[in-house]
Every structure is written in structure tokens, then in C-alpha cells.
Amino acid sequence: MGRLARPAGATAEICDELHSLARKPRTRFSNEPSANLLGVVMNIPTLLTLALVLAYPISYAAYLSFHKVALAELRRGIFPFVAFDNYRRILSDPLFILSLKNTLVFSAVSVTAEIVLAVAIALLIDQRQVWTSRITKFLILIPYAVPPIANGLIWAFMYNFNFGFLNRILFTLGLIHEPINWAGNPSTALLALTVPYIWRTLPFAILLVHAALQGINPELYEAADIDGAGALQRFWHITLPLLTPIIVVILVLRTSFAFAVFEEVLAITQGGPGDATWVAAWYAYKKSFAPPFDIGVGAASAYVLALIVGAIAIAYVKAIYRRIA
């Protein structure tokens, strides 16, 4: 290290003092591990765990999807190579195609409804001068904490044809005279599944929109007020454009999670009535963990699901970047 340049008017002693101060930490730090070594050591637990339950399973799932792995093979521990056989089987299985279609419909409906509701409710709880907003604001977080399987069973009780809570309310209000079979009707079962899912996952979307709303400069609204803009115009020309980035984020995250919906299907319809509510994750689960335990086929179908989710994520991210650039 070179000598410090002597500032004008400073005595040699002061300069020496400054110099030793500047040097002191350096000698101390030289005993420390380098940033690289520290980085490695501090990341060992994370890397080990992620290798074990993320990197390894993803690659092993690919391996399994190219092998015959059913109960007999699991017992023997030998998995014969079958190339693309598992993929050929699921792609020619009408039930798998139907599951994909149902997943697509389920995701499209639930994510669209969620975004509309999230924006509406986030705006609603922002109205602090309306006291009922505070109750809503308190309640929005609670569904996030409800176990998905409990949520599913509660809605199964709500939807029940004979004893269900929804029919009881409608009977009491005098709105119906015959019970409605909410989740047991093949044409409405999939839609019936979206409601519990929306109920449980709406808090997340509302919170993100609400946080984004807090970031909007109030002066923009004041300026709009001066220009005589109405509430609708303010929403359309200020709020919505400024919310677009967070809406895209919600779209990406919620779609990727909705594609993997599982608990509500298990609790409410188990894929029925008939096969009206088979979705992709349910297909992978049933193929792998119900007789005949065809894990190779299950892994292949799960991989197709992952690839679709990945493609959607990439498409969305590209769309966001194009918007920014």
C-alpha cells in the first residue's frame, strides 16, 4: 500500500496516525476467511438441503419418467429402461388430455376471478374513512392460514347435496325449493372447485395489490381531481396502469400454483363426478400412489406439468421484460 498523499496543512504526525488507522483493519481482516470461502461455508446447509430435495428429485424424476417403475419393480429395485414409452402412454391417454384441459380451465377461471377480486378488495380496504373496511382488512389474511385440506372439507360440507350449508342458507332465505347439487353435477363441478381455491388464495393476491397501491403517488390523484376526473377515470387512467406490473407478477405466480391444485380436488370431488374434475396433479398422484402404482407414468405426467408451468413462467417473464424495455 502506497503512502497517503499529505493533505495541505496536515502535520506528519496526523498523517502517520491516519495511515495506521487505515492499515489497522486491513491487517485484522487478513486473518479472516476470504469472501469466497465464507460464502461457501455459509451456504453449505442450504446447498445440501436443496441438492437433496430439489436438484436431485428433479433429475431423478426425469430418470424415472424414462423407466418402468411400478410395484413389482419397486420391490426388486430394478427399473427397466423404456425410452419414451411412459410419455407415449400418457399422451395417448384421453384421461390425461382431459386432466390437462381441466387444469387449464380451472387455472384460467380461478386466476382471472382472483385478480379482479383482489384489485376490487384492495381498493375497498384502502377506503379508511369507511369503517367496515377495517373489518374486511382484518379478515382478508385469515384464509391464508387455513390448511388447504381443511378448507376443502369445509367446502365439501358447504356443497353437500343433502346436508350442505349453502343449500340450508338458500332454503332459509326461500330462494330454492329443491336442493342444488353444487359439486356433484359434472357440468358445474370444476367451477365449484374454483370457489374454495379462490377463497384460500385470495389473501396473497389482495396483499400484493394493496402493497402496490400504497406505492402510488397521491399527487397523481390530486392532479386528476383538479382536472375533474371521475372515480372511474382515475381508476382507468392512473390506478390500473400503475398496478399492471404487480398484476403480471400475481398472474405468473398464481397460474403456476393453480396448475398444481391438489388438496381441494382430493377433499371435495376426488376427480368426480365421473372424471369431470381430474386435474394434472391429481392424475400424477393417482397414477403414482394408487394401484397399480405406476410411478414411471406418474413421473412422466408430472414432468409434462412442470414443463407447461415452466413455459408459462418464461412466457410471462418475457412479456414483463418487453413491457419494461
Binding site: 479472516e32 390448511p147 372439507l153 360440507f157 400424477a284 413421473a299 408451468v309
Partner: protein
């Protein structure tokens, strides 16, 4: 914003709708849990039960030894429900273990992301973003095969490891920005006073990051407590089941009626709902930053 009485009324109306939507399932569960199978079946068109009872909870929490009036018609309680205290204990142990492990692991990694400017650590951040898009079922099929081969099935530690790995990426995503926002000068001052990089992190940055740790801890606890798929696939013996798995095992059991199901659902959702009410502020911040999982 100026509000006229009409808009005010409309806003109250909209709030009431939202409140009704959020409360409806909870009210249904409570009403269902507080009546007997007999009264549920007797009057199928009324909202309020003709008689109230706590028997459902009494039967479940006594493991089926105390049989109340609800057992006039049915004398059967599934074995999984009889061992409810195993399920409660397993759920608690797994949720606490996973929360502690992820807090430690994610803090260590988040520090390297926030403070050490290393190119390969940036790769870790990309991995965490990528990890959020992998459907859980993709991971569970190979994990099942592996755990089966290594004899790790039916162990609460196997489940804990899987959950920890699954929830770690969110932690790095929540904690790293918070650590980065703690002024670097504070750590540098501590280092001049004799701390190493690591002890400066432990004594300065980490204590200042308590809000972020609380929000991530609460979120992880709730997700781990609620998670079904991981323990459902890895554990199938009653002694190692978690509460959600016990609940899932009741699906399709024609002998278990809605009143018992609602009671057990309420038992499962109470701890996590209480936690989110108590730590509301932190959870909101954590979700807004990390965009975790819904």
C-alpha cells in the same frame, strides 16, 4: 377522496359482501362442529342447529373413549382420529423443526446473497426464483422412491427435511433484501471494533432483522403446519401422520359424518389462524416482499 353518502353506502355494502364471503366457510364449520350427526340429518333446511353440543370435540380429544350423544347412531371412530394426539404432536414437531431449520439455513444464505458480492451466489438467487415454479408433485414422486429405498418413509424427520428444502428458497427471497437494507456501515463499524465478518453479521445485522425473521418464521410455520402433500406421500402409519394427513384420511370414509369432520378441521386450523392474527403485521410484510405462496 370525497365521498357522497351514496358511495359510502355502496362501499359499506361491498364490504359486507366481502366480509360474508370470507366468514361463510368458517361459520359453516363452526355450526357444523357444534351439532350432532342426528340434528344435522334431522333438519336439512335450517341454518341454526336445533340443539348445540360440544360432543364432537369431546369424542375427538378423548380419542374416542368418551362417547357423547353423537354416537347414538354411529359407534365408529377411525383409528387415525383416535390417535389425534400423535397427529397434533407430529404436526407441531415438524412445523417447529422446519421453522428453526429454515430460519438458520436461510439467514446464512441470505447474508451471502446480500453482502458478499460473489457471482456464484447470484446463481443461488436465480435458483430460488426457479424453485418456486416447480410443482410439488414433481418433487414428491422421486422423493418417495428415494426415501423408500433408504428406509426414510414413515419418519417425521424425513418429512421435516423435505419441507425444509421446499421452504428454504422463499426464506432467501424474503431475508436477502432485508439484510441488504441494513446499513453496511454498521457492520463495518463492528468490524473495526474487532468483529469478524461473520460475528458482525450475528451481532449487528441479524438482531436488526428481527421483523423479517418473524415474518418468514410465521409464514414457514403456517405452511409447514398446513402442508398435506409431503407427509401424505411420505408417511402412512397413524403414529407418524400429521393433522392434515389424518383429515385427508377421512375423505370418502362414509362412517365419518360432517359434524366430526368440521370439528377436526377447526382443531387443525385454529393454531395457524391464531398465529396469523397475532403476527399479522409481520406476515403481511413478508408476503408483500417475498410474494411467497398462496
Amino acid at each position: 377522496m370525497r365521498t357522497t353518502p351514496t358511495t359510502r353506502l355502496a362501499l359499506h355494502g361491498a364490504n359486507l359482501l366481502a366480509i360474508a364471503f370470507f366468514l361463510l366457510p368458517l361459520i359453516a364449520a363452526i355450526l357444523g362442529a357444534l351439532q350432532s350427526e342426528k340434528s344435522l340429518q334431522a333438519s336439512t333446511r335450517t341454518v341454526l342447529p336445533p340443539e348445540w353440543t360440544l360432543d364432537n370435540f369431546r369424542v375427538i380429544l378423548s380419542g374416542g373413549t368418551q362417547k357423547g350423544a353423537i354416537f347414538e347412531q354411529v359407534t365408529y371412530l377411525p383409528d387415525n382420529v383416535k390417535k389425534i394426539y400423535f397427529a397434533l404432536a407430529n404436526s407441531a414437531v415438524i412445523a417447529i423443526t422446519v421453522t428453526l431449520a429454515t430460519l438458520v439455513f436461510a439467514s446464512l444464505s441470505a447474508y451471502t446473497v446480500a453482502r458478499l458480492r460473489l457471482r456464484w451466489v447470484a446463481w443461488l438467487t436465480n435458483l430460488t426464483v426457479f424453485a418456486r415454479f416447480v410443482p410439488l408433485i414433481v418433487l414428491m414422486i422421486p422423493l418417495y422412491v428415494t426415501f423408500r429405498q433408504f428406509g426414510l418413509l414413515n419418519s417425521i424427520w424425513g418429512v421435516s427435511i423435505a419441507e425444509t428444502g421446499f421452504l428454504l428458497p422463499y426464506g432467501i427471497l424474503i431475508l436477502a433484501p432485508y439484510f441488504a437494507a441494513v446499513p453496511r456501515e454498521l457492520e463495518e463499524a463492528a468490524r473495526i471494533d474487532g468483529c469478524t465478518r461473520f460475528t458482525a453479521f450475528l451481532r449487528v445485522t441479524l438482531p436488526l432483522s428481527k421483523p423479517a425473521l418473524a415474518s418468514y418464521g410465521a409464514i414457514v410455520f403456517i405452511i409447514a403446519w398446513n402442508d398435506l402433500l409431503i407427509p401424505l406421500i411420505l408417511n402412512n402409519r397413524a403414529e407418524v401422520m400429521t393433522l392434515p394427513v389424518v383429515i385427508a384420511s377421512l375423505v370418502g370414509d362414509v362412517h365419518v359424518f360432517h359434524n366430526l369432520m368440521m370439528a377436526i378441521c377447526l382443531l387443525a386450523l385454529t393454531p395457524s389462524v391464531l398465529l396469523i392474527v397475532l403476527l399479522r403485521r409481520f406476515v403481511v410484510q413478508g408476503l408483500a416482499v417475498g410474494g411467497v405462496k398462496g
